[in-house]
């Protein structure tokens, strides 16, 4: 409504001035509240094996939980995406998101995830850095979704991957803004490494109960058990993730991120910033 009133005051005698500026996907207070709530719920859905407190007998719900969550999480992700879209995403932001998602999806096969060479995140981190947390969050979701559609990889794991990479994109947008130059690249490399391991750990946490199974009979085989305490389960998970993936995929991913940002960080940031300048968002209309 703001824009219409502004236009009306810009009557015949006066100039109509539109200035450009602002964020591609603005993070409003309401969006932020929803984002926090969904992040809490989403994190719990990742970590449920660690959080369960059941008597050994009442394990019926335990098998239900992942299925229920697999149905619920997409809904939550959709809620927050709809909120961002409603909060003033204009066509420029939308086109930019679409094109960057496509580039991201195109980069993915070059790594193919083999040996942990996962090239999705470096562009996500850089774009989140340039366009801000809201954009980073949405890009994280859409680029994984698009690449899942292209490679026919839609499944219950997809919402979890989307949320995870959305956090990575958002986090990149929340890094201190004033750091520039070499220090910025160093900071982003650090973030890339941390986020690679975090992504690995979270996705492992997601697949842990499925791959290692539930330890119902109380034997030690690296599976979670609802009878154990949080700490004990965490310990088991720690060992699980260390043996299964930290040495391989996660480290590969971290190295990919670090190398990609070190090598391509500066030129890609320049390209993205140039685009951001040319396609500034949010028309601020005024009459003078």
């Amino acid at each position: 409504m703001k824009s219409l009133t502004a236009a009306r005051t810009a009557g015949d005698g006066q100039d109509l001035v539109t200035t450009l500026g602002g964020h591609a996907v603005p993070l409003r207070a309401r969006s932020a509240v929803m984002l926090v709530l969904i992040s809490i719920a989403g994190l719990a859905m990742f970590c449920w094996p660690l959080l369960t407190h059941h008597d050994a007998s009442g394990s019926a719900h335990v098998t239900d939980a992942p299925i229920i969550f697999a149905v619920t999480l997409p809904l939550l992700v959709f809620v927050i995406l709809a909120e961002f879209a409603d909060g003033g995403m204009d066509s420029k932001a939308l086109a930019m998101l679409g094109v960057l998602s496509a580039v991201d999806a195109a980069l993915r096969p070059t790594g193919g995830g083999t040996g942990g060479i996962e090239t999705v995140f470096f562009l996500l981190i850089l774009a989140g850095r340039v366009f801000g947390p809201g954009f980073g969050f949405v890009l994280g979701c859409t680029s994984l979704f698009a690449s899942a559609l292209i490679t026919a990889g839609v499944g219950p794991w997809l919402p979890f991957q989307m949320l995870c990479s959305a956090w990575i994109g958002m986090g990149a947008g929340l890094l201190p803004r004033r750091v520039r130059g070499t220090r910025e690249i160093v900071m982003l490399i650090g973030y890339g490494i941390v986020s690679a391991y975090l992504f690995g750990a979270l996705m492992n946490l997601y697949s842990w109960p499925f791959l290692a199974g539930a330890d119902i009979s109380g034997h030690a085989n690296l599976a979670y058990s609802s009878a154990y305490s949080l700490l004990e389960n965490l310990h088991r998970f720690g060992v699980y993730t260390l043996v299964t993936s930290t040495g391989g995929w996660d480290t590969g991913r971290a190295i990919t991120n670090a190398v990609a940002i070190a090598v391509l960080g500066r030129p890609v940031l320049v390209v993205l910033r140039r685009a951001a300048r040319r396609a500034s968002y949010d028309l601020v209309r005024s009459a003078d």
């Binding site: 409504m1 309401r30 929803m34 719990a44 959080l51 369960t52 719900h61 229920i68 969550f69 809904l75 809620v79 995406l81 709809a82 909120e83 879209a85 409603d86 204009d90 066509s91 420029k92 086109a95 930019m96 998101l97 679409g98 094109v99 960057l100 998602s101 496509a102 580039v103 195109a106 949405v138 979701c141 859409t142 680029s143 979704f145 698009a146 559609l149 292209i150 026919a152 990889g153 839609v154 499944g155 499925f210 791959l211 034997h219 030690a220 085989n221 690296l222 599976a223 004990e232 310990h235 088991r236 720690g238 060992v239 391509l264 030129p267 890609v268 390209v271 140039r274 685009a275 396609a279």
Partner: protein, 366 residues
């Protein structure tokens, strides 16, 4: 009567697949699971089109096999602790304390192998059902049925999917062009940079043109925004999300008060869903040629959901035979009801028409 080739509503295929997956989740009987996998594959082979995503079933079959192998390996080599017949007597290697009391190897019992196999097979069957849906449902048509609140996000994905081949083209073109630069010496990483930067810059320039085109064609039109409705929906959604947060933790914890468990969770999810369904109502967008959810679609969905329902029913009446014992190992027995559950999914192939083959006009202009 001969049915004309026509696409089946993508949601119908997903419901069908989810029904099969639910059926699979309720049993560890390998015969039933193999039967379910067979049914899923059979329907896919009969009814898939010639689109790229239709070829994805193989990947999912491989993934399923991988899951079974991993699951069995976990059971057998990480502190196997079954009983009954010993298949292989390996020495047990205890690990230091930090490893959470885990030990490697040890004698492998038949029950270990079977437990791992059954469990893995169940998960594999579920994954393969999902793969079947991926092969059968046209993802682009799926995007047409998203609620209006997700229209923008749907558009982002549509744009991404349609720009994707252009990016791939652009990569090929740039790679060829870059070979012409006289200074191809220099540091090796230059090669990557020389690829990525022009492709990205090209893509971003493109996005601005695309945005202008979208604006000129009316993108983003809204009717008058009822402020009060928006506010109410916002409050509803936030309240729903708070309830979901409470509910998630409640569900996982036996000690939480009853009201904070399933009721809170379900209420929260319902509120959030309502908020999603009713937001962005002021958008005036309509959809072109949405697939009708007709009789065929209903029948396809019903055959899958019936599989799930029958299996749940079987679980109520004769749970014993759905999860064959591994200690001692017995031959799996298949009752009539679960058998029906496993094969009823085949009906989808009977009720659905063959998929329309797109004209093979993939001529690439030079």
């Amino acid at each position: 009567m001969r049915r004309l080739p026509a696409p089946v509503h993508p949601v119908a295929w997903w419901l069908w697949a989810i029904g099969l997956a639910v059926a699979a989740s309720f049993t560890t009987d390998p015969l039933l699971l193999l039967l379910l996998i067979g049914v899923a594959c059979f329907v896919v082979v009969l009814r898939r089109g010639d689109a790229p995503w239709a070829r994805s079933l193989r990947v999912y079959l491989l993934l399923g096999a991988f899951i079974v192998v991993v699951r069995v390996a976990f059971r057998c080599f990480l502190g196997a602790s079954g009983s009954g017949t010993v298949l292989l007597d390996l020495p047990r290697i205890p690990l230091p304390d930090w490893a959470a009391g885990v030990s490697l190897l040890g004698p492998i019992h038949l029950s270990d192998v079977l437990d791992g196999l059954y469990d893995g097979l169940r998960l594999a069957a579920m994954i393969i059902c999902i793969g079947a849906a991926n092969s059968l449902a046209n993802p682009k048509r799926l995007l047409k049925v998203v609620p209006i609140a997700l229209y923008d996000i749907g558009t982002v994905v549509v744009v991404a999917v349609s720009v994707f081949p252009q990016i791939a083209d652009s990569i090929g073109r740039v790679r060829r062009a870059q070979r012409l630069r006289p200074d191809s010496g220099g540091r090796k990483w230059h090669v990557v940079r020389r690829m990525i930067v022009p492709v990205l810059a090209d893509a971003l320039d493109r996005s601005l043109l695309l945005a202008a085109a979208m604006d000129s064609r009316g993108y983003g039109r809204r009717g008058p925004t009822p402020v009060r409705t928006r506010r109410i929906l916002g409050v509803l959604t936030v309240a729903g999300l708070i309830a979901v947060c409470i509910g998630v933790f409640g569900v996982l914890d036996d000690r939480a008060p009853a009201a904070f468990r399933w009721p809170a969770f379900v209420l929260g999810v319902a509120l959030a869903a309502v908020g999603l369904a009713f937001s962005a109502r002021e958008r005036t967008v309509t959809r072109y040629r949405v697939d009708p959810f007709g009789v065929t679609a209903c029948a396809v969905a019903a055959s899958g959901l019936a599989a799930g329902g029958l299996m749940i029913l079987a679980g109520q009446y004769a749970p014993a035979h759905l999860n064959p014992s591994t200690t001692p190992a017995t031959w799996p027995v298949v009752d009539l009801l679960p058998l029906m559950a496993a094969v009823i999914g085949l009906l989808a192939a009977v009720v659905s028409p063959p998929s329309a083959i797109q004209g093979l006009d993939e001529e690439v202009p030079a």
